[in-house]
């Protein structure tokens, strides 16, 4: 009896040690690379700011100025409610951050104080971004108004409130690989793929997730239940349950005006996305459309939920 207890205690201790070791944010290597030298390109930073749809989550609520990124607007999810933080250049936001810390946050999902971020912050996509682009984005954010105030803590039930546990999840989903252009494809298709898979993080909403919150390859871009509440996020692959009937021009148009080929308009939180994508250069919207059209068709579901 006593022997069993000792063995159990030792096993428990080993388990705890393994957990502690495997969930160490230091195991995440993405975002630890040096920030590329040279002056930041603010115009490029602005492009990535709008492609990245930062405002959708970080905009200060109940006001109209789209450059005030004080955070705090509740983001509901199946895992609990998140309160996106202040990312304005105030001391309550990213005002005292270094470019290295920002790169680490964006690509590795690790905060300046060495903790894991929840993947409601889509670093699973941002890991594909080139470090120089992340540097430019940081420089652009620093030009926006400084907004005081900190968002409330996330309201998450156990076990999701154990931040450290995210380390295991991240080991499974983060490979830290920067997007690699395919030399066999056109520059515009590569540009579209880079934006869609990286900054624009389209797959994060337009894919159904499994019970572990991961996106299985066969469901990528095929739509799924709205993670933020009622309804259904559409399939954007060129399948008949998706955008098979849409031309490249139709996709570029919806990202510009929000109008679909049927004369409908997009709704819900895609409206905010369009407010951002409409600010991109037409060539970037065309590139995104070209890449979306090139996705493998996958069966999703059609119709409202």
């Amino acid at each position: 009896m006593r022997r069993t207890l000792v063995i159990l205690a030792v096993l428990g201790l080993l388990g705890a040690l393994a957990f502690w070791f495997l969930t160490d944010p230091g195991l995440q290597r993405a975002g630890l690379e040096p920030v590329p030298a040279g002056e930041a390109d603010l115009a490029n930073g602005r492009t990535l700011f709008f492609a990245g749809d930062c405002t959708s989550c970080h905009l200060s609520p109940n006001q109209d100025d789209r450059t005030r990124l004080g955070g705090g607007k509740p983001l509901p999810s199946p895992f609990g409610t998140f309160y996106p933080p202040n990312i304005s250049p105030h001391a309550d936001g990213i005002g005292s951050w270094t470019p290295e810390q920002f790169l680490r946050a964006m690509r590795g999902g690790v905060s300046p104080d060495g903790r894991h971020y929840y993947p409601a912050f889509p670093y699973t996509s941002y890991q594909r971004m080139r470090p120089a682009d992340v540097r430019d984005l940081f420089a652009y954010l620093k030009t926006l108004p400084a907004v005081p105030g900190r968002a409330p803590d996330h309201a998450l039930p156990f076990p999701f409130n154990v931040r450290r546990g995210l380390g295991l999840w991240k080991l499974a989903v983060l490979d830290g690989k920067v997007f690699e252009p395919d030399p066999a494809k056109s520059p515009s298709l590569n540009r579209g793929a880079y934006l869609v898979e990286g900054a624009a993080h389209c797959a994060e909403c337009h894919s159904a997730r499994n019970a572990l919150g991961m996106i299985p390859a066969e469901r990528r871009y095929a739509g799924g239940p709205n993670p933020e509440g009622k309804g259904f996020v559409p399939n954007i692959t060129p399948d008949k349950t998706g955008l098979a009937d849409w031309s490249k021009g139709d996709i570029a148009e919806v990202l510009s005006s929000g109008l679909t080929p049927e004369g409908d308009s997009v709704g819900s939180n895609m409206v905010e996305v369009v407010r951002n994508t409409s600010q991109l250069a037409p060539a970037d919207r065309d590139a995104i459309a070209e890449y979306i059209k090139s996705l493998p068709p996958r069966v999703g579901r059609k119709g409202p939920q």
Binding site: G231, S257, G258, G267, S268, V271, G300
Partner: protein, 145 residues
Amino acid sequence: MLRTVLLTAALAVGATAVLAQGDPIATRKQTMKGVGDATKIGSAMAKGEAPFDAAKAKEILQVYANAADKMHNYFPENSKTGGETTAAPTIWQNQAEFRKRFDDWAAEIKKASAQTDNLDNFKAAFGNLTKACGGCHETFRIKKS
């Protein structure tokens, strides 16, 4: 062809106004379908895919005006669910704001009625009017594919 589409849409809106008491979900869907069909035509003209036609521009605005005027009637308390509706609960939680959006839109449509004389004016007016679509669908419609 276009005339027929617009006329049918206008007639459908008129006819379904009578039906609204019976099946508000079907009525509002049909009304919005009419708006969508008109928008499709307007969009083609604005993008230069179809020749600009001042008469068509006017008809589009008529379809819009009719919808702006009547839509809010088609959301009685007993029509929150059913019929694959994509109406969001926010409509009933914030009736005043919901109504106001249609009134604001109606005011914009009225202003735009002086802008159907040439393509440039129409483009500006059409862009402005269709902006309202997203603003309202953002808050008052659930996600759909």
